[in-house]
């Protein structure tokens, strides 16, 4: 029968999708990615090159142009000290994005370690660790973060640490599931029976298997971290207020709100929405490739 099906020489559609180049092509062609990836590129280029292109410095006050409405000389207007909002936004992109990315990487390392221990360890340990995880997940993240920030002075490193500590749970759960699934797989059992070391097997097989779903979690995690950072900074509990992170800019905008300086509120928020939406779209695109059964939208 197999001979017959190759006779007519038709390779089923789904076989083609397993080739790497095709996978990349599907990813790039995915409607979500088509919107999200260019958005992400724009943000990245703006963050890196932007400060060089704007003729104003982020901390350059101009007392002659306080609360200037957006115009040709100040595209996005100025703040209460006459600082150019566009320059501050682009400088802020560097602050906000690097905080979010470093915090997410920290959370990923933490989550992988926790998940690995729970997934490879004895069942009783797994139970305890997962129960602890569930409990943590039932507490609002923001609550933990704010409590942590209520103690001591604020610094960039502390914000990164706190955001990282508040967002490793998803990765931990994923890693633990991957470990359990891997250890239950037939080819691993066969290798174990053959006398291979459990630890070495896990190291060599786990990463290739877990890399793809991990990438999705990390991508979406960066977006969430941007949101948490902006919230904290907005509440004056985040990055020191001397740094122009997006949240700080919004917090600053709130105090000028009743004066009607709408540009100070509108533009930093748009930046956040645009960034997070682009990241989420790319994450969705990735998820659809990694797990084609779950179609677009969730």
């Amino acid at each position: 029968m197999d001979a017959l099906s190759t006779d007519k020489g038709q390779v089923p559609e789904y076989f083609r999708y397993h080739q790497k180049t095709a996978l990349l092509r599907t990813f790039l062609r995915h409607p979500m990615t088509r919107v999200g990836l260019p958005g992400l590129l724009i943000i990245a280029i703006a963050a890196v090159l932007g400060p060089l292109l704007v003729p104003y410095g982020a901390d350059e006050p101009d007392l002659a142009a306080i609360f200037a409405v957006p115009s040709w000389s100040h595209w996005l207007g100025t703040d209460q000290l006459g600082r150019d909002l566009l320059a501050r936004l682009l400088e802020g992109a560097q602050v906000s994005l690097s905080v979010a990315i470093i915090a997410t990487l920290f959370a990923t390392v933490l989550g992988c370690l926790y998940g690995f221990v729970a997934g490879m360890g004895p069942v009783w340990l797994d139970r305890i660790m997962m129960q602890f995880l569930d409990t943590l997940l039932s507490i609002p993240v923001l609550l933990l973060v704010i409590v942590a920030q209520a103690f001591g002075e604020s610094s960039v490193l502390k914000v990164i640490a706190v955001i990282g500590l508040a967002s490793w749970m998803g990765t931990a759960r994923l890693m633990r599931t991957e470990c359990r699934r891997l250890m239950a797989a037939d080819y691993i059992s066969a290798a174990l029976v053959g006398g291979a070391s459990q630890f070495r097997l896990a190291i060599t097989h786990l990463l290739p298997n877990a890399a793809a779903p991990l990438l999705v979690v990390v991508t979406v995690g960066v977006g969430q971290a941007v949101l948490i950072e902006s919230t904290l900074s907005f509440l004056n509990l985040g990055v020191p207020s001397t740094l122009p992170s997006w949240g700080n800019l919004l917090g600053n905008g709130m105090s000028s709100l009743l004066g009607g300086a709408w540009w100070m509120v509108l533009f930093p928020g748009l930046m956040i929405v645009f960034t997070v939406a682009s990241i989420n779209l790319v994450g969705d695109g990735l998820r659809d490739i990694v797990d084609p059964k779950r179609r677009a939208g969730l």
Binding site: M1, L4, K8, P12, E13
Partner: protein
């Protein structure tokens, strides 16, 4: 078998999935008739387009993603021109269907009885009490032990074989004249398969039911079908009465299918098709 005016008549049916360069022709120029009380078996390996035929007959194909050409006539009515109200009147009450996975073809949040009631009340305009009597009778008609208990069960509480018989009862309670069975035994163990086939045969004889049995399992087809169609990559390769197709296959592919059936025989001299036919007809008659 007497073939009168055909109950179902398929003429030059083609189904294409997708469009442009991705288009896949699942069914090509398929024609066949099914008479009243006739059982036709549609055989082929997975991916050969068998299920698409059944879905086309009931209008279940997603019209956004597939294109149908040709004619399908049921009782001399072109069903491809039906609107949704006409479809509702035909589906279930005149053409019934059995699916491959019995447990997942029942709603997981309601009992089997409730699902029988909702169909009976809708199609037959019965009162709740009348419908319940009819449902329990339908369950006992397919040999369900303790039908009034099964009535209150959820699908996940029954074994696969019991579930499929409940699905058969549900389909038959609406008294269709044609039953489409899409791989009805594929997910059952051998004992449950034999049981199901026995009851399908019995019900078919009692009700003078026409059936289109779709399967890759030649044992099932040999036991039930009067006529066999062999399908490969969307096309009919050969067709004819069950006995002649099995004992004297004309096509290499059919021969390969028959030889692929595992059998317990002490007489290697008898050809594979012959033994398949004899083994299965004997069992039904006994």
């Amino acid at each position: 078998m007497t073939v009168k005016t055909p109950l179902l008549s398929i003429n030059e049916l083609s189904v294409t999935y997708g469009s442009g360069t991705d288009a896949v022709k699942a069914v090509r120029n398929l024609s066949c008739d099914i008479g009243c009380a006739e059982v036709v078996g549609l055989v082929g390996e997975s991916g050969s387009g068998k299920s698409t035929v059944a879905q086309a007959i009931l209008g279940l194909l997603d019209s956004d993603n597939s294109a149908i050409s040709g004619r399908i006539e049921f009782s001399a009515d072109n069903v491809l021109a039906y609107d949704s109200a006409q479809w509702r009147a035909v589906r279930g009450s005149r053409i019934g269907m059995l699916f491959q996975s019995p447990e997942s073809s029942f709603n997981p949040v309601t009992t089997i009885g409730e699902q029988m009631l909702e169909s009976l009340c809708w199609h037959k305009a019965l009162s709740k009490a009348q419908a319940k009597t009819a449902a329990i009778k339908a369950l006992s008609d397919v040999g369900m032990p303790r039908p009034d208990e099964v009535f209150h069960h959820y699908a996940f509480e029954l074994s696969g074989g019991m579930c499929q018989r409940a699905a058969l009862a549900l389909a038959m309670s609406l008294q269709p004249s044609l039953l489409l069975a899409d791989e009805p035994t594929a997910s059952l163990d051998v004992v449950a398969q034999a049981e199901l086939v026995r009851w399908m045969g019995r019900v078919q004889k009692q009700r003078q039911l026409a059936m289109l049995v779709i399967s890759h399992d030649l044992n099932l087809i040999a036991r039930l079908a009067d006529r066999i169609l062999v399908m490969y990559q969307g096309e009919i390769l050969e067709q004819g009465p069950t006995r002649s197709v099995l004992e004297n296959p004309q096509h290499d592919y059919t021969r390969a299918l028959i030889n692929a059936v595992p059998r317990l025989t002490k007489y290697p001299s008898i050809s594979a098709g012959e033994s398949l036919y004899q083994a299965n007809t004997e069992e039904v008659q006994s």
